[in-house]
């Protein structure tokens, strides 16, 4: 557990120093949200109906952008190999990397989203369902994207290919997350979607460390 904490602190330290592009991904989240009112008009009723989806799409792309670098820099300069040699299992490293990614990308999005929902025209009384869906959804986004990110390290090139693989896998989370908000607004109640999101999170938490470390080992073969 001590080692786990130290790994997370190390990753957060890298982000704070600006050596990773997690901060840029967060800025991208703000920019992507602004795109929606600018592209589809500032009509208040229209904005209210697309607000949940807009926030979710922005969160998904922000996560996607930063996920490409999840393992890459450590994989390329060999520090990931050194951490494994120090006796920490690769599965633990994958989990700590995902947790650090969520702390630097997912958590700020969850905190920022109720404020941003105001400028995009979502009624403030829906902040709890927006926050809850993002709180359960963003860790799943990170975890689902971790394996393709590890695979892109094994190929040696990333970019468009990683996005192409990750996006279809993330779509169910996007549908459920933004669906929760739309269902709540329409009066149907979005709690069913939240339950489904809450089911995806532990499932991916179980499968991902195993699969992502398989993918990283494939890169070392």
């Amino acid at each position: 557990m001590k080692k786990f904490n130290r790994l997370i602190i190390r990753d957060i330290h890298i982000v704070v120093k600006g050596a990773s592009d997690a901060g840029a991904a967060l800025l991208f989240y703000l920019l992507a949200i602004i795109m929606f009112p600018l592209s589809s008009g500032t009509d208040a009723t229209l904005l209210t109906s697309i607000a949940g989806g807009a926030i979710w799409v922005a969160a998904l792309f922000s996560s996607l952008l930063s996920l490409d670098r999840l393992f890459r820099s450590d994989f390329e300069d060999g520090s990931l190999e050194q951490i494994v040699l120090s006796g920490i299992s690769l599965e633990t490293i994958v989990l700590s990397k995902c947790f650090a990614h969520w702390l630097t990308n997912g958590l700020p999005i969850v905190i920022l989203s109720p404020i941003l929902s105001l400028i995009i025209g979502l009624d403030f009384s829906y902040w709890w369902i927006l926050g809850l869906s993002l709180l359960l959804g963003t860790p799943s986004l990170t975890l689902i994207g971790a394996t393709p990110a590890a695979l892109s390290c094994a190929i040696g090139k990333g970019g468009v290919l990683t996005a192409l693989i990750i996006l279809p896998l993330m779509l169910p989370v996007l549908i459920l997350g933004s669906g929760a908000i739309t269902a709540e607004i329409s009066g149907l109640g979005g709690i069913g979607h939240i339950y489904a999101l809450a089911a995806i999170l532990p499932l991916s938490l179980l499968a991902v460390p195993f699969l992502a470390s398989k993918a990283l080992r494939l890169g070392w073969e």
């Binding site: 695979l151 094994a154 279809p168 779509l171 991916s204 398989k214 494939l218």
Partner: protein
Amino acid sequence: MTNIFNFLANPSRFRLFSQKAYPYTLLIMSIFISTGLWFSLFNSPPDYQQGETVRIMYVHVPAAWMAMMIYFFMTIMSIFALVWRHPLADILSKCSAPIGAGFTLVALVTGSIWGKPTWGTWWVWDARLTSVFILFLIYMGHITLVRAFEDEYKGARAGAILTLIGAFNLPIIKFSVDWWNTLHQPASVLKLGGPSIHIEMMVPLILMALGFLFFYFSILLINLQTELNIRKLKKLFIKKFSEKKSF
């Protein structure tokens, strides 16, 4: 059963087996498809509501079944490849992906053609349609990933890992029409409590499904032979090259 697995685990032995089995799968496929087509086009009743358009079902439903079954098969093979490192499992998974993508596309296109006269629209964003579309995208991502590797062995293993991550979409597709109340009709053949479809429509449907299954087998065998030949050629080339250098 384990003996068969072990016997066919040797790639060159499997290559011989597939060369022998290929004509038989073609033969069985043509028998099933021709009788199935005759039944479905001439010897089955039109639907009392949809009329003759119901005959699209005999292509649409088997293709959709195959799209899901092939992904299920790929998932099982990926588990075999990652856990027991079976030498053929990841190749089987890799060679199945393009066929599965093809069947998914057929299901989507025929469904769209069927949707226009019955639902009045080419496409709706309903749960079943959306999840099958996502399945198609996952197939395409899989194909792209596997071909991005220069080394075939690594590519096939990477494909196996990706297959397992995408596998959670499969139950969503199967049960989407039961969980959500959407435009696509719920399952009427593969469900608890027996099928609710009339026997005269059931027979051509099953025949076509079997035909599609053997079509898949024959294409899979050809794909496998190509893959094994490519690997063998590369090995021979490397061997020859290294022998030349030593002189």
